[in-house]
Assembly symmetry: C2
Homo-oligomer: 342 residues x 2
């Protein structure tokens, strides 16, 4: 069993990327500021984490908008992979790898409630615990298995098909024997869907007539639509569903702002006439099942059955750009910011 | 055991209300014409029904729009309660009461596939087998039990609360111990919801601010929304749902025409953030379970636990007006057209 804990520096200040103002819509670099704070000490029942890989995730748009989750002046709420360097919690030892809500900063004092994964013996590179083995991968695994378990002969449509969530959905569904069709926003990502993630078909929704494309791809309609975008792509996909199909609502990336509430095609008649079931999925309702999903995904990864499209950039300032890129579609796969050498 | 088979005439021609043209939107009287045809004779494996109670149901809007279901010049596709007067099907005897797809006409030649209920020993007035014991009542029963079984402490919101489907939903949910809130379109119907159907609260959606009304009625949000309307009432109700709530999409009465496709508030973010499950229900997917539901509903009716708001008008020409009234909201409860004395 190989441990992939890289060497890391132990700076004497705690660099932080804090929320400087409440973002209007999607967060951008002007919404953040850098500051240095003292390295904190863990109190009883807590432990100190040295963050190594900082994550940028679409869900942070919601966290940045919510004063209860990210106060102005506080480190941006974020997931990260780190190593415990000091512990006053008898169940957590220094040297253990952890993944959880540690914020955009070098150090975090955390409790078990802040953890999504405790990884005493990593079987995979640490960065993957924030990617295909982290929130995005586990989201894909649990949402698909809970709401619409894929099987042979069924068809599964996936939006943001080349993203971390989408690409894991596509790979799981393909391995379950489903016919898998991906939607993504560039020809380069279409190629990644086919070449890396095993989609049977993939289409650039920005070119051509999407309704015609979907009708041609699956004249009998799709059994499952795993939706990460909402918006007009959803409106088009819902009209390409087979009877008794299932829609998993996992994200709404296509809509930059919900204030004022945007309008679109009315969809309740599609729900009724196609006898659909349309279900929201919120990963943090399922934190207690994280470990089970990570184990299964790790098995796939170790067996070479799970492609991880992951980019690691070194240096704390990169993390803001990684978040911005999520909302412009400039990213490809999971971008992590490594801060262990700083 | 009382049989409620009324005396009935046996006219020598088969009067029919036929579809004269394809309706634009909701069907109205100019879309229909009267004609007389010979009384048909049943062939092998079929039987002849003398219709007694003709039904008008919202689903006929869809049937009238669909050339495969109602060709121009053919009797309007409709449900009816009748008595078998001649049978060439050894499993069906003359004198048995039947409920099924017999059309707006005096006589129909039918097969078992046209039946929803075979009622050899009626325990209730025959008209009820097209109302609270017919498609509307069975829809309420199966949709509620399959998708969101009500229970004590839960809250259930119902639109078209005083209609046949809605009023049965309200009564079932109330008897299961749920807190039941009805939405309807007149103060008179609000009173019927409270006085007859046992809703804890009922509101006229045409007066006041519905969002405020729902927030006041259930600040913690509704667990179930049984929706028969769609449209802006749905858009408002979805924003009043509790987390993990369930929406049953059973009708879209608020939208008179889907051509061109109407627009409204985007709802996918509500599905995601409230972690809702929004499911269509189509009664004809469940024809094999009709008998079970009719038995349970009959038990309730016989025990005095099911109010049936039913109006019977005598004379074939009334049936078109009964259908029109469904779409203007002028009806109250179930209107049946009795044609046995003609």
């Amino acid at each position: 069993m190989t441990h992939f804990i890289p060497p890391f520096a132990s700076p004497s200040t705690n660099r932080q990327i804090v929320l400087a103002r409440r973002p209007a819509g999607t967060p951008g670099r002007d919404d953040f500021a850098s500051q240095n704070a003292p390295v904190p000490s863990p109190g009883d029942g807590t432990f100190l984490v040295r963050n190594l890989y900082l994550s940028a995730d679409p869900v942070q748009r919601g966290w940045a908008a919510n004063p209860a989750l990210t106060p102005i002046g506080a480190p941006m709420r974020a997931l990260a992979v780190g190593v415990v360097v000091d512990s006053k919690d008898p169940s957590i030892r220094a040297g253990e790898v952890v993944y959880g809500f540690f914020g955009w900063q070098d150090y975090a004092v955390a409790t078990r409630a802040d953890l999504l994964s405790l990884i005493p013996n990593p079987r995979a590179p640490l960065s993957t615990y924030a990617g295909v083995l982290g929130m995005p991968g586990v989201t894909a695994w649990l949402a698909l298995h809970d709401i619409a378990p894929p099987s042979a002969g069924q068809s599964v449509l996936v939006s943001t098909a080349a993203g971390t969530v989408g690409s894991v959905v596509g790979q799981i569904a393909r391995q379950a024997g489903a016919h898998v069709v991906g939607l993504t926003g560039s020809d380069q990502k279409v190629a990644a869907c086919i070449d890396r993630f095993g989609y049977h078909e993939a289409y650039n929704y920005k070119t051509g007539d999407l309704a015609e494309t979907l009708a041609r791809a699956r004249p009998e309609g799709f059994n499952t639509y795993f939706d990460n975008t909402g918006g007009w792509i959803l409106d088009t996909a819902i009209r390409a569903m087979a009877r008794h199909g299932r829609i998993i609502q996992c994200g709404t990336a296509a809509t930059p702002s919900w204030t004022p509430p945007p309008t679109g095609l009315r969809n309740e008649r599609e729900v009724l006439m196609r006898v659909l079931s349309w279900t929201g999925f919120f990963i943090f309702d399922h934190a207690h099942r994280f470990g089970e999903a990570v184990d299964r995904l790790t098995d796939m990864l170790v067996a070479g059955q799970l492609d991880r499209d992951e980019t690691v950039e070194a240096g704390l300032p990169h993390v803001v750009g990684a978040l911005e890129a999520l909302f412009t579609g400039a990213n490809s796969g999971k971008t992590l910011t490594y801060i262990g050498e700083d």
